[in-house]
C-alpha cells in the first residue's frame, strides 16, 4: 500500500505507480486534509529524503538486476537445448546492456517527462535527454506527500524495468532467431512500444493514467506487454525445426530452477520496491510476493499430479513464476489471503494455458512467454480489481466497487493488448525485411551458439 493516510483515498484509487513524479501537484488539492495528520508538512517546501528509503530503493534496483542477469537468463537458458544455451544468455545480457544505455540517453525522458501538447498523452518529451538536469541533489516524489527519493535512484530503478521487459520477450522465439534481429527489435520495441506504454500508464499526463486502473508494480507495462509481443514473435518467426516431433527437452532443469529462484528473489525488489518507501506497505508487498507464487506453484503441481500422476519441478517453478506475474499488479494492494487466492487461480489458469491451449493452437512459444507472462498478467490485472477490495481484506481505497474496478482493469488490459499487439507486429515486419528474423536452417541445426557466437557452452 503506497499511501499511508485514508485522506489520500482519492489518489489511491488510481494506479499508484503513475504518481511517482507528479504526485506533488496532485496532492496540492488535498493538502488541507493532510495537514490534520501531519502539520509539519504544510510548512515543508522541499521534500525530505530518508536514507532508509534511499537504501531500500538502491537494493530494490539491485534485486531487479539480479532477477534479470543471471536470473531470467538462467531460467530461459536451462529450458533450451545445449546448443542454444549461450544464445539465450547472450540475448538477455545484451538486451539488458543496450536498454541501460538507451534509457539514460532518451528512454527516461520519453517515459518520464512532459511531452508536447498534441501527443503528450502518449509519449514524453526531450527535456531530460542525456539526463539533462538530473543531479545527485534532484529528487523524485514518492506516494507520501513530502517524502522523496534521489532522482538517480528512481531512474535507475525504472531502468531495470525497461531492461527486463524486452528481455522477457526473447523466450518466445528462442532457438531460432538471429542475434542481430534481437538487438534491432529491442531498440525499436523499447522506443515505440515500451516507452509509450510506460508513459501512458505511469506518467501523470499519460492516457492510461487517467483511466484509474490499479497496477502496483507493472503487470500491464511489463508482463502483458512482453507476453503479447512474445506471442506475435513466436507466430511470425515460426516453429522450431522438429517442433512437435523431436524431444526438445530442457538441457538443464537445474539451471532453470536456479533462474526461477533468482526471479523470485529479485521480484521482491520489483514488487516491494515499487512501494518506493520502506514502510509496512513494502512489507505487505513482500509478503504477498512470497505467498502468491507459493500458492501458484502448489496449485500447478496439484493439477499436474491429478492429470499426469506426477508433480514436476518444472511445474512448480513455472507455477511460481505465474504467481509472481499475477501478484505484480496487486502486490501492495491485496491482503495476504487475497494474494494466496490470486496465486491459486494463476497457477491453475496458466497450467492450462501452457499445457492445453498452446498445444491445441499449435504455435511454438518456446519458453511460454505468452502462456505465463501474458495470461498470468491478464489474470493478475483483472484479479487486482477483486483482491484490492477492502471488503476482501485488500488495500484499495476510495469508494471501491469491485465491478467498477474490474471494468477499469479490463479496459487497461485491452488498450495494452492492442498497442503492443499492433506495434510489435509492425516492428517484427520491419526487422524481417531489413535483417531477417530467422536463423538459417544450418545455423538452427548446428545451434545458435556456434553459428551466431562461435562458442560452445560446455566442454566437459
Amino acid at each position: 500500500m503506497p499511501c499511508d493516510t485514508r485522506s489520500l483515498s482519492l489518489v489511491r484509487s488510481l494506479n499508484p505507480m503513475k504518481l511517482r513524479l507528479n504526485l506533488a501537484t496532485i496532492l496540492g488539492g488535498i493538502g488541507l486534509a493532510l495537514m490534520a495528520f501531519d502539520p509539519a508538512f504544510a510548512q515543508d517546501a522541499a521534500p525530505t529524503v530518508n536514507k532508509g528509503d534511499t537504501t531500500w530503493m538502491l537494493i530494490s534496483t539491485i534485486l531487479v538486476i539480479l532477477m534479470t542477469i543471471p536470473g531470467l537468463a538462467l531460467f530461459y537458458g536451462g529450458l533450451v537445448r545445449t546448443k542454444n544455451m549461450l544464445s539465450l544468455l547472450m540475448q538477455v545480457f545484451s538486451v539488458f546492456s543496450l536498454v541501460a544505455i538507451l534509457w539514460v540517453i532518451y528512454g527516461y525522458s520519453l517515459a518520464f517527462s512532459t511531452g508536447s501538447e498534441s501527443i503528450g498523452a502518449f509519449i514524453g518529451g526531450f527535456s531530460k535527454v542525456f539526463l539533462a538536469g538530473v543531479t545527485t541533489d534532484s529528487t523524485a516524489d514518492t506516494f507520501t506527500k513530502g517524502v522523496a527519493i534521489p532522482e538517480f535512484t528512481f531512474l535507475a530503478f525504472q531502468l531495470t524495468f525497461a531492461a527486463i521487459t524486452p528481455a522477457l520477450i526473447v523466450g518466445a522465439f528462442a532457438e531460432r532467431i538471429k542475434f542481430k534481429a534481437v538487438m534491432l527489435f529491442t531498440f525499436l520495441w523499447l522506443t515505440f512500444v515500451y516507452l509509450p506504454i510506460a508513459h501512458m500508464v505511469w506518467f501523470s499526463e499519460g492516457y492510461l493514467f487517467k483511466l484509474g486502473a490499479l497496477d502496483f508494480a507493472g503487470g500491464t507495462v511489463v508482463h502483458i506487454n512482453s507476453g503479447v509481443a512474445g506471442l506475435i514473435g513466436a507466430l511470425l518467426v515460426g516453429k522450431r525445426i522438429g517442433y512437435g516431433r523431436d524431444l526438445l527437452a530442457p538441457h538443464s532443469l537445474t539451471l532453470t530452477f536456479v533462474g526461477a529462484c533468482l526471479l523470485w528473489v529479485g521480484w521482491f525488489g520489483f514488487n516491494a520496491g515499487s512501494n518506493l518507501e520502506a514502510t509496512g506497505g513494502a512489507a505487505l508487498a513482500l509478503l504477498n510476493t512470497i505467498l502468491a507464487p507459493a500458492a501458484a506453484g502448489l496449485a500447478w503441481t496439484a493439477v499436474e499430479s491429478f492429470e499426469k500422476g506426477k508433480a514436476s519441478l518444472l511445474g512448480i517453478a513455472s507455477g511460481a513464476v505465474a504467481g509472481l506475474v499475477a501478484i505484480t499488479p496487486a502486490a501492495g494492494l491485496a491482503g495476504p489471503m487475497g494474494a494466496i487466492v490470486l496465486g491459486l487461480v494463476a497457477g491453475v489458469v496458466c497450467y492450462f494455458a501452457v499445457t492445453t491451449v498452446k498445444n491445441a493452437l499449435g504455435y511454438d512459444d518456446a519458453l511460454d512467454v505468452f502462456g505465463i507472462h501474458g495470461i498470468g498478467g491478464i489474470v493478475g490485472a483483472i484479479g487486482t480489481g477483486i483482491v484490492a477490495a477492502p471488503s476482501l481484506g485488500g488495500y484499495g481505497a476510495g469508494e471501491y466497487t469491485i465491478a467498477g474496478q474490474v471494468w477499469t482493469q479490463f479496459i487497461a488490459v485491452v488498450v495494452t493488448l492492442l498497442w503492443t499487439g499492433i506495434g510489435s507486429l509492425i516492428l517484427y515486419k520491419i526487422v524481417d525485411l531489413t535483417l531477417g528474423l530467422r536463423a538459417t536452417y544450418e545455423a538452427e541445426r548446428e545451434g545458435l551458439d556456434l553459428a551466431d557466437h562461435g562458442e560452445r557452452a560446455y566442454n566437459y
Binding site: 524431444l247 499426469k308 506426477k310 501452457v354
Partner: protein, 112 residues
C-alpha cells in the same frame, strides 16, 4: 582372440568387473551407451509436452580375451549381469585378429 562386447545395466558394472577379474581378465574398456530394445522406456513431461523416451542408459563393456576362455567369460558376464528382468542386455563375440600393447609394442596374447 576375441572381443567380447556386452551391453549391461549400469549398476551391474562392478559385479561384471569382479567376475572378469576372477577369470584372470585384468583389463576392460567401458562406454556409456543408450540402448533400445524390448525394455520399455519412460515418459518425461515438460510443461505438458510428453516425450516417450525409449533409449535407456546402458554400459557397453569391451574385453579382449584369448579364444579359449570366451565361454567362461560369457558365463561370467551373464551370471554377474543378470537380474532376470527385461533389459539385462546382450553379449556379442567378435573376432579379434591382432592386439598390441602401446607401451611396449607386445602383441597378441602378451598384449591382453
Amino acid at each position: 582372440m576375441k572381443i567380447v562386447m556386452a551391453v549391461i545395466k549400469p549398476f551391474k558394472l562392478e559385479e561384471v568387473r569382479d567376475a572378469l577379474t576372477s577369470l584372470g581378465v585384468h583389463g576392460l574398456t567401458v562406454t556409456e551407451v543408450k540402448g533400445y530394445g524390448r525394455q520399455k522406456g519412460h515418459t518425461e513431461i515438460y510443461r505438458g509436452a510428453e516425450y516417450a523416451v525409449s533409449f535407456l542408459p546402458k554400459l557397453k563393456i569391451e574385453v579382449a580375451v584369448p579364444t579359449e576362455i570366451v565361454p567362461k567369460v560369457i558365463e561370467g558376464i551373464t551370471l554377474a549381469a543378470r537380474t532376470g528382468q527385461i533389459g539385462d542386455g546382450k553379449i556379442f563375440v567378435v573376432p579379434l585378429e591382432k592386439a598390441v600393447r602401446i607401451r611396449t609394442g607386445e602383441a597378441d596374447a602378451d598384449a591382453l
